[in-house]
Amino acid sequence: MDSHAIAAQTAEPAQLEHEHPAFLRHHFENVAQQREAATFGMWLFLLTEIMFFGGLFCAYLIFRNWYYPAFVAGSHTLHIWAGTLNTTLLIISSFTMAMAVHAAEVRHRTPLLRWMIITIVLGCGFLCVKAYEWHDEWVNHHVPGLNFSIREFTHTNPAYPADKPLAPDMAEKTQIYYSLYFVMTGMHALHMIIGVGLLTILLIRARAGAFTNGHIAPVENFGLYWHFVDIVWIFLFPLLYLISRHQ
């Protein structure tokens, strides 16, 4: 195509309106390119997170295969109500986060703030339940390396009378289960804490109108991160909490 024709082509009216938005960085040609690049970059970052958690899931699969009875016994000591509640909280928070992104896209500041606050509250709720669960594990001597005891597993569990008590060597292996439990939920919780922190910062900037003027990318991409953390939990929940509950 003739270069003169390119130069002569007029910009679309919507473009002229956004000629030089303050948030357009100088090395991008236009807002669309900047937004696409930012989203693509966030997806690539999420790929690194998939592989990061992937190593943990790999370890989990191997040891669940090797020490299934120990994993069953360990899983039965987790509170299924807590796990289900946490899953519910996170799913609702994903919904509210999606609504927040929507509010930014249609440039409604008050709903945006509202949905962001609800998401933060739900996230904190999740962390409170998790803290309670961890405290419970500590009280019951299920923390590997710190106060771990296998006594509970070598005796019958009153909640699961059909569960045979484990032989001492298999009972020892529950420590692997709890190690993975703490590392996986801990890593997830760390991502949640970082998420809540970032969302708080975004909330402050949203109050000042930073995301209802066409500059959606930070909210949108944070949403991607938040949904990803939700997905990790969607897999953690059945793997950790729902092992052989039918007994």
Partner: protein
Amino acid sequence: MEQHPQEHHHHFPHPEMGASEPTHTPFRIVSPKTYLLIGGCLLVLTAATTAISYVELGVFNAVVAIAIACIKASLVVLFFMHIKYSSKLTKLTVASGIFTFLVLITMTMTDYASRAWGRW
């Protein structure tokens, strides 16, 4: 290479330049109704996975649990994360991530799965 003064600082890539331009995907705003529907499905599936875990299915308990988790994850990825409405590049990116994750899991597992075979 020709260098030409840009009379307009911002212009969409020109389709006439052919495949040289990064393709521009229009940004679609997903409706809140869709989000509500998907959110509802996710909650139902959560209840289902918890309930089914109390039913004796033998080895299929694990299979069903993971399957439901995969469905839930797919709903989040497709709708909340807008993959259904995203460019081919984004879809390919997600697929490559999942693929690499599966390579890690399956190829490592083949070692563990085959250790006890035969006397080799």
